[in-house]
């Protein structure tokens, strides 16, 4: 049995969970390639024009897996609990793929906690569909859950370590499927590194903590993925030098949330970058470069002030 994982959207959140679970059940896994031009073009071809860029990319990945596996995994996510919903795009991927592609075999599970559909229940149902027993699936799920938590913790720890570095630190506030996508976010973070900056990833922060702190920026926000991201701003405020809000056109939640961040968090230099399928790289690089120049200027100024302070004290 071969399970296909589209390397887009929730893959970046659940990679370890999915891979461990299906391996434990004795399935083979095939992951689609890093996003490339062909995947993007296919995605555009099979998507409604007004869909957001990440969802178009997702469709490209799904398309690339058709015929290469027995099932393609597409979860449906609605809510993780009271006031913790997700963008309605995640409600619909299963049905969109099902209605767009013929001969597609989808393996799905649903997370809709408010309606009693919990993750565990979904995984056990999947196991059943693959002909596995309740206990086999349950054990596999528990193992997978642990592995995912461990991996998240490790990444979070690694990032905490570099936070002490004295390089220029830029917080990337962006959904992981944008941040780590080979075509959208990756060139940007690479460019920051090339210019001597250190990208800090908001999605790697401990999710429970950042959920709580998100209230300080927005108290009525109910999109959990966005809450997790903006909480990181509050948690790391004193440790970073600037904020990059990275979003893709036309993301519904980000269109509002990022507006609020810009209006409310005036402490740090902030830039809002909206990527779309036609973006030329040159323009983006110029914007990032000048943003980093501004921060460097601020840092230098701060340095001079500190120096003066020290000199003053010496004189006294």
């Amino acid at each position: 049995m071969v399970i296909g994982l589209p390397k887009a959207m929730l893959y970046y959140r659940y990679k370890v969970l999915w891979e461990t679970f299906f391996k434990e059940l004795g399935c083979e896994i095939i992951t689609s390639a890093d996003t490339n031009r062909k995947i993007l073009e296919d995605g555009i071809k099979y998507s409604i024009d007004e869909s957001c860029l990440p969802s178009k990319i997702f469709m490209g990945h799904v398309y690339s897996l058709i015929g290469k596996c027995d099932y393609i995994l597409i979860p449906q996510v609605v809510s993780y609990g009271y006031d913790n919903d997700v963008c309605v795009k995640f409600n619909a991927f299963y049905d969109i793929a099902n209605n767009t592609f013929e001969n597609i075999n989808i393996l799905d599970y649903s997370i809709n906690v408010m309606e009693g559909e919990k993750e565990q229940k979904g995984f056990i149902k999947m196991g059943k569909r693959l002909g596995k027993s309740y206990f086999h699936s349950l054990i596999a799920y528990k193992k997978a859950k642990k592995a995912q938590a461990l991996s998240d913790q490790l990444k979070s720890q690694l990032q905490a370590d570099v936070l002490e570095s004295n390089q220029m630190k830029l917080l990337i506030v962006s959904h992981p499927y944008i941040t780590y996508d080979r075509l959208i976010g990756y060139p940007i973070t690479e460019y920051i590194k090339k210019l001597g900056g250190l990208p800090i990833y908001a999605d790697l922060i401990n999710k429970k903590e950042s959920l709580q702190r998100s209230k300080e920026i927005s108290d009525s926000l109910y999109w959990i993925y966005n809450k997790e991201l903006i909480g990181a701003i509050k948690l790391l405020e004193d440790k970073i030098d600037g904020i990059i809000l990275l979003t893709a056109f036309p993301c519904g939640p980000d269109s509002l949330v990022n507006e609020l961040i810009i209006r409310k968090s005036k402490k740090l230099p902030t830039i809002n970058i909206i990527v779309d399928e036609l973006q030329g790289e040159a323009g983006l690089q110029t914007r990032i470069e000048s943003f980093m120049d501004i921060i460097q200027e601020r840092l230098n100024q701060q340095e001079r002030l500190n120096q003066k302070e020290i000199n003053k004290k010496r004189i006294v």
Binding site: E277, Q279, A282, G283
Partner: protein
């Protein structure tokens, strides 16, 4: 004396006029730039058509207008039929290619796709957001490269390796093109790339989700560009038919429609001395503030549009006050 029918297609960029006889045969045609002044363009085109026919031999029995200024010009000419360009193009094309299933149309600022089954329109779409990938986009890019847009197609055909360009948005396309030129792409490759971008942009935008079936007919101003035709053939793997009169299909269609709706009130081609004028104003009578446009023929109000309320209907008097 024979009966003839006049069709006028007034687009944002160009104005097309045509006179057909009882058998749909074109007996006069003319293509000029609208230059932002549809009234003048129509006066000029009618003047020109007049010279082409023998007025003793032909009598214009009815008139039809289409295109974005169809209403204005319809009022001006007292047209019998005022039709949207989608229907007009479909009718015109069907008269030349009765078997057609798909019509690609790329004009100055509009592009559309029309799907036909059994001789009737079953589906269509128009570009919604901007003019990228249409005629005006191509000619502005041509200008950038120091070329005339009419040379474009031939040059594109010489390319071995078309550049990949992002052409959904004029702004992006321009910067992308400059960038490609800076890093040493050949001119013909960039031009072929532009043609390809127009096509893929069109198919992803207007053609999204449409059942494209042969035979395919391509028309509108851009259909004169062999580079774009070739790109269409490559992408669709089908033969693309382009009629010599492909730019006149809208006018032809509406002339045929006017023939069908024939009211037989003789039409006078001598309009060059009549003074036509439009005056626009905001109604201000209620918070709706409808933007009303009044149309005058020698100081006589012949039509108005834009009013949405019961009390805003313009009269001769409202106008004097406005």
């Amino acid at each position: 004396m024979q009966t003839a029918y006049l069709g006028v297609d007034i687009g944002s960029i160009s104005t097309k006029g045509i006179i057909i006889d009882e058998n749909n045969k074109i007996i006069a045609d003319k293509y000029i730039w609208t230059e932002g002044n549809p009234i003048n363009a129509v006066k000029q085109i009618i003047h020109d058509l007049r010279q082409q026919i023998n007025e003793k031999e032909f009598k214009i029995a009815s008139v039809g207008t289409t295109g974005s200024a169809r209403k204005l010009v319809g009022a001006m000419l007292g047209a019998d039929v005022v039709k949207n360009e989608i229907t007009a193009h479909a009718i015109g094309t069907l008269s030349v290619f009765p078997e057609v299933r798909t019509i690609f149309e790329i004009g100055g600022q509009d592009s559309k796709i029309i799907i036909i089954d059994n001789g009737i329109v079953v589906d269509y779409a128009m570009n919604t957001i901007c003019a990228a990938g249409t005629g005006s986009f191509l000619s502005s890019q041509a200008k950038r490269l120091g070329l005339d847009v009419t040379e474009f197609g031939e040059i594109a055909l010489t390319s071995q390796n078309p550049s990949k360009l992002a052409a959904r948005c004029t702004v992006f396309a321009e910067s992308d093109m400059v960038h490609k030129a800076q890093i040493g792409h050949k001119k013909e490759d960039i031009i072929a790339g532009l043609c390809m971008a127009v096509v893929s942009n069109y198919l992803n935008n207007v053609g999204k989700g449409k059942m494209i079936k042969p035979p395919i007919v391509f028309q509108g101003g851009v259909s004169k560009n062999v580079g774009v035709i070739k790109a269409f053939e490559q992408v669709t793997n089908e033969k693309i038919y382009v009629d010599a009169n492909s730019h006149l299909m809208g006018a032809l269609g509406v002339a045929i429609l006017s023939k069908r709706a024939k009211k037989d009130k003789p039409f006078n081609l001598n309009i060059s001395d009549i003074n036509y004028q439009t005056i626009g104003y905001e109604c201000n009578k209620c918070p709706n503030n409808c933007e009303i446009i009044c149309f005058y023929k020698d100081d006589e109000l012949i039509d108005s549009w834009g009013n949405r309320c019961a009390n805003g209907e313009p009269t001769e008097r409202t106008l004097k006050n406005a």
